[in-house]
Structures are given as structure tokens and as C-alpha cells.
């Protein structure tokens, strides 16, 4: 196994408020790492830090390092970084464009305009997102006309169209029904062969089912999120080492 991302002594502040405190974690390449924890523990903030989504928020400052293949991504060009680290959000958010244009949007933005090449990328991305068979005859249809589960897979296709190395997923299935949720989880198992995946989820069973590693975040007094326990998913859910993890995953609080 190779480490894709190393988070070292990472702190994040919103103005005076410390949202993340001294996070240290290694993300394994071609594996799925789940981030779990109660609301407000900083798990979304953490994942958003990995492709610098928090840069846009006024008053945010960070310290420490997030090493992406050995280089601190906090100091890299954001546009280039986001090509390599894609993101899928909680609510499916296709652009109000056709299915084709949704997927082609990223490659076009990165300078690909050859129609044949774009068509190939769109087909491959939709295939990888397990959506091709359902939409291949209506690529001109609006992305917003698809079902919620299809929209989310369209967003995954859009994310992988620029050939990222890492896919961040922030509650990707929480707005979906159980069947669409399972489809996304199955898809993750296929995608991890080519991508490194980090998923934030409130659904512990989803973390248990779908991930290889799990990180449990909690907040200290004062509200700063910190990493309580990190390890292989199987051992964390059967025999967690920390009492706090035990109490959280057994539903004793939170």
C-alpha cells in the first residue's frame, strides 16, 4: 500500500474559532477512507481542506501540512490541484445543461475541444460512473431531468472526467434512497481500483459497508474537531480502541 495523502499537524481556524486541531492521518492510495463523527466535529471542513474549498471562506487560516504525493497541497495552484482532487457533494448538483455538457465541462475547461475526444471522455466517464447504459440515448437531455440517484452518478462522472487521482465525497448518498445509495457504494468499490476515495458520512453502516479505513472525529471542549481514532474499518467497528469511538458507534451519544 502507498500513502497518497499525509496530513501533518493540520489546524484550521475560522477567524478566532478553531475548527480542526492537530489532525494527523495517512490516506492510502486506491482505498476508501471514511470520515465519521457527530455534526460539528469538522469532518466536512477536513475533507474540504483537501481540495482547498475553504479558501473561499473569509477569515480561514490553516497551519500544518497536507502532503499530496509528498508536496504540501496548501501551497499549490488551486486549479491544478482540483483537477487532481475532485469532489462530489451531498446534494446532486448537475449544471443546468445537457448530460453531455455536464461531463464535458471539466475537460473543456482544461482545454480539450476536439469533439471526438470529448465524446470519448464523456462515454468513458459515464461508463465508469455506471450511468452510461441509462443515458446513452439521451445525452442531450438536461442533467436536471435525471432521477436523484442518476444526478449523483452524473456528478461522479463529471468529477472523474478530468481524470483526478483522488475523489472526495461529502455525504454523497444522504439525499438518495436506499437503492441509489447501494448503487453509489457499489460504484465506489469499482472506482477505488483507479482512484483514492475519501468519503464523509453520517451513516455508520455505510462507513462499515463501503470503506477500507475509518477515521472517527470528535470535538473537544470549545468545539475544535480532532481525530479520535483511525484504523482499518473492520477492526474499528468490531473492536474500537477508544471508549469515545465505542460510545459513538454504539449510539451512546451523538
Amino acid at each position: 500500500m502507498a500513502v497518497k495523502i499525509q496530513v501533518r499537524n493540520f489546524n484550521l481556524f475560522y477567524g478566532d474559532f478553531q475548527a480542526l486541531s492537530n489532525i494527523n492521518i495517512d490516506i492510502e492510495e486506491n482505498h476508501i477512507t471514511a470520515i465519521i463523527g457527530p455534526s460539528g466535529c469538522g469532518k466536512s471542513t477536513f475533507v474540504r481542506s483537501i481540495n482547498r474549498m475553504n479558501d473561499l471562506i473569509p477569515g480561514v487560516r490553516t497551519s500544518g501540512e497536507i502532503l499530496f504525493e509528498g508536496k504540501n497541497l496548501l501551497e499549490q495552484n488551486v486549479v491544478q490541484l482540483r483537477k487532481r482532487i475532485g469532489m462530489v457533494f451531498q446534494r446532486p448538483n448537475p449544471f443546468p445543461k445537457s448530460v453531455f455538457d455536464n461531463v464535458a465541462y471539466g475537460p473543456r475547461g482544461h482545454g480539450i475541444h476536439n469533439p471526438r475526444q470529448l465524446a470519448e471522455i464523456v462515454e468513458n466517464s459515464l461508463r465508469d460512473a455506471a450511468l452510461w447504459d441509462e443515458v446513452k440515448d439521451e445525452l442531450d437531455k438536461s442533467g436536471l431531468a435525471l432521477s436523484a440517484g442518476q444526478q449523483q452518478r452524473l456528478c461522479i462522472a463529471r468529477a472523474i472526467a478530468v481524470k483526478p487521482e483522488v475523489i472526495l465525497m461529502d455525504e454523497p448518498a444522504s439525499a438518495l434512497d436506499p437503492l441509489d445509495t447501494l448503487r453509489i457504494e457499489e460504484l465506489m468499490q469499482i472506482l477505488k481500483q483507479n482512484y483514492t476515495i475519501i468519503i464523509v458520512t453520517h451513516n455508520m453502516q455505510q462507513a462499515a459497508r463501503a470503506s477500507d479505513f475509518t477515521a472517527f472525529f470528535h470535538m473537544a471542549e470549545g468545539g475544535a474537531g480532532y481525530l479520535v481514532e483511525f484504523g482499518p474499518t473492520n477492526s474499528l467497528f468490531i473492536s474500537p480502541k477508544e471508549k469515545l469511538t465505542e460510545d459513538y458507534i454504539s449510539g451512546r451519544f451523538g
Binding site: 455508520m204 468490531i238 473492536s239 474500537p240 469511538t245 454504539s250
Partner: protein
């Protein structure tokens, strides 16, 4: 203020109680089976057969309740280890019930047969085994890991008695070869008691698993090793 897990905790507690009742039924069945053997009481042996049906019914009721908890509560961490262990322990107890039934069967096989019996040793073996089971279930319910590690050590006493009974039964066979079949039944009885004690060790292993998360075999010295 009630915690959000109150229903879940109550369900687990109820199953624990049912396991305790099942354990008492098994203890009683084995004690009655040995008493029936030593007093040649065929009626008592038949009652043990009926009792075994109740043991099986209770086992399925507990198993069903555990499946419902798994399906509806999706237990994790310690809860998961407790529930998986309860399923295992219930199976162990049901098998112990079968051992008691096996002894009752010997009572019917020895109907009208005059044969000397290692009475004291069988009684003692039965007492130790039942005591081990009783303490093993208590350690499980109390989550007493120290006790769970100590109880299996008594298995050595059971194994020693098993060896002694074996030699005694061989002597019975030599003294009266026409009794070989019947004496062999006595070996079944001793063997069933010996297996029952082994299964108590399995229960103790689950108690350790719940506490530590490690599935380990608790080793006792010479497992049913004959000194021929």
C-alpha cells in the same frame, strides 16, 4: 432522561436473562440425567427427553430474538461482540442439552442391566462440570474476564476424572466381557460430561472476546489426553 439506546439495552438484557434460564435448564437436565443413571430411573430419563424439547424451543426463541436485534439495531463494536457471543453461547448450551439427553438414552439402554458403576466419580464429574457452567455463565453476564480465564482451568479436573473412569470401565470390561457393550455406554456418559466441560471453556472464550475483541482459544493442559 432516557438515553437513545434504552430500547436496545432492554432487548439485550432480556436475552441475557433468557440465556441464564436456558443455562439453568441445561444444568438441571444433566444433573437429573446422572441421577437417573445412578438410580436406574427410566421415568426420570423420559422426562429429560421432554425437557430437551423445551431446551431446543428456548434456543430457537433466543436465536430469533438475536436475529431481530441484528436486523433492527445493526449492532456495532461491543454490542456486536456481545450479540455474536450470545448466539454462540446459545448454541453451546443447546448442545450441552443434547449431552444430557445422551445420558438419558444410556439410562434406557441399561434398563435391567446389573453393572457396577463408577458412581462417585461420575457424580463428582457432573458436579464439577455443572459448577463450571454455572460460573461460566455468571462470568459472562458479569463480564468478569478474570473468572472467564480461571474457570477453564477446572477442565483439567474433569479430564483427570474422565481418564480415571476410562480405566475403571476397562476393568469392568475385563472382569466381565459380557458387559462390554453396557460398559461402553458408561464411557459415553463420561465422554458427554467431558465435552460439556469443554464447551464451558468456549463460553469463557466469548467473555474474553467481548472484553478484549480477541478471538483466542483458552488452553487448558492435556485436553482429554489419555495416559494409556
Amino acid at each position: 432522561m432516557p438515553t437513545i439506546r434504552e430500547t436496545f439495552d432492554r432487548q439485550i438484557h432480556k436475552i441475557e436473562n433468557e440465556i441464564l434460564i436456558l443455562g439453568s435448564m441445561v444444568e438441571q437436565a444433566m444433573r437429573h440425567a446422572i441421577d437417573a443413571l445412578l438410580t436406574h430411573d427410566i421415568d426420570a430419563a423420559r422426562q429429560i427427553y421432554e425437557q430437551d424439547m423445551l431446551i431446543n424451543e428456548k434456543r430457537f426463541a433466543i436465536e430469533n430474538a438475536i436475529l431481530i436485534i441484528i436486523a433492527t439495531q445493526q449492532p456495532l463494536a461491543r454490542d456486536l461482540r456481545v450479540i455474536a457471543s450470545m448466539l454462540e453461547i446459545t448454541t453451546e448450551l443447546e448442545r450441552m442439552g443434547d449431552y444430557a439427553k445422551g445420558v438419558a438414552k444410556v439410562v434406557t439402554k441399561l434398563r435391567g442391566v446389573e453393572i457396577p458403576m463408577p458412581e462417585k466419580k461420575l457424580n463428582l464429574m457432573c458436579d464439577i462440570t455443572i459448577d463450571m457452567l454455572h460460573r461460566g455463565l455468571k462470568a459472562f453476564l458479569d463480564q468478569d474476564v478474570n473468572q472467564a480465564r480461571i474457570i477453564p482451568l477446572d477442565d483439567d479436573k474433569v479430564d483427570t476424572l474422565y481418564n480415571e473412569i476410562y480405566h475403571e470401565v476397562v476393568q469392568i470390561m475385563i472382569a466381565a466381557p459380557e458387559n462390554i457393550d453396557h460398559a461402553n455406554y458408561l464411557m459415553w456418559v463420561a465422554h458427554n460430561l467431558e465435552r460439556m466441560a469443554d464447551r464451558v471453556t468456549n463460553i469463557c472464550e466469548r467473555t474474553v472476546f467481548i472484553a478484549t475483541g480477541e478471538l483466542l482459544e483458552i488452553s487448558t493442559t492435556d485436553d482429554e489426553d489419555f495416559d494409556f
